[in-house]
Assembly symmetry: C2
């Protein structure tokens, strides 16, 4: 399961992508339209800004906007920022590798299967962009990445 924080982040970014081009988007608009607690959302958006996904403008007429083209922001990047590893085992994570300590990694019987799960998952999350999710989402039979 992804955390609610991560789900809120995805919903907020999709919302911002949709309204992009014009101006910045207000936290309060997103909170209202997507049913996300405002203060909680604030900290999520600030986190995304710290991670170079968003830029922000303070004060009246302030708000948030994407730093990049929504076609080039992939879901996996957001998920890693919000929840950390995508993999199901620490020893199989590409971006947050940790040994399992209690087990002998060379002879681990479950590692291979979870590498396989990771790869299939990343094929999807690593090739789907914010722009894709604002279109009618269609499963790609052979993902580009």
């Amino acid at each position: 399961m992804i955390s609610k924080k991560c789900k809120y982040a995805l919903k907020a970014l999709i919302y911002i992508s949709k309204n992009n081009g014009d101006e910045t988007v207000l936290t309060s608009s997103i909170a209202r339209d997507e049913n996300i607690p405002r203060k909680f959302l604030e900290s999520i958006l600030r986190n995304l800004r710290n991670n170079k996904i968003l830029h922000s403008k303070r004060g009246k007429k302030g708000g948030f906007a994407l730093l990049r083209d929504p076609k080039e922001i992939y879901i996996v990047e957001i998920m890693r920022i919000m929840d950390g590893p995508v993999a199901m085992l620490p020893c199989v994570s590409l971006n947050y590798y940790k040994s399992c300590e209690e087990c002998d990694e060379k002879n681990c019987k479950i590692k291979g299967m979870f590498e396989n799960v990771r790869d299939k998952t990343l094929e999807i999350l690593g090739s789907t962009s914010l722009h894709d999710l604002n279109q009618q989402y269609n499963q790609k039979e052979a993902p580009l990445v």
Copy 2:
């Protein structure tokens, strides 16, 4: 990430599958060989017994054994018993469905992608058995189930 409890369960079941046919397997042997805290493992194995994966024999010469052929025990079943849903969103879970409450499910922009992830994940976890993991694990290009 799966929980350590779940990882321990998988390791223990693989261990039991390997030694199956002969007699029951002791909690203490598994704990020793797989570096799992014994008391914690006890509760895991009892849980698996309550869920009809194992049967147990009490007293001297007791222990645990599989109730079914290891070729017919799929990893997904164990993961659901130990950790609950496999899906990344409650509203996308096949076995633990829950609405997301704050969002309008019909118009949810992220649901489709996570259904896709779920399906790819289940293709693997639902077609890999304990027996498979005791062999050299090889990625199946076109899973049977």
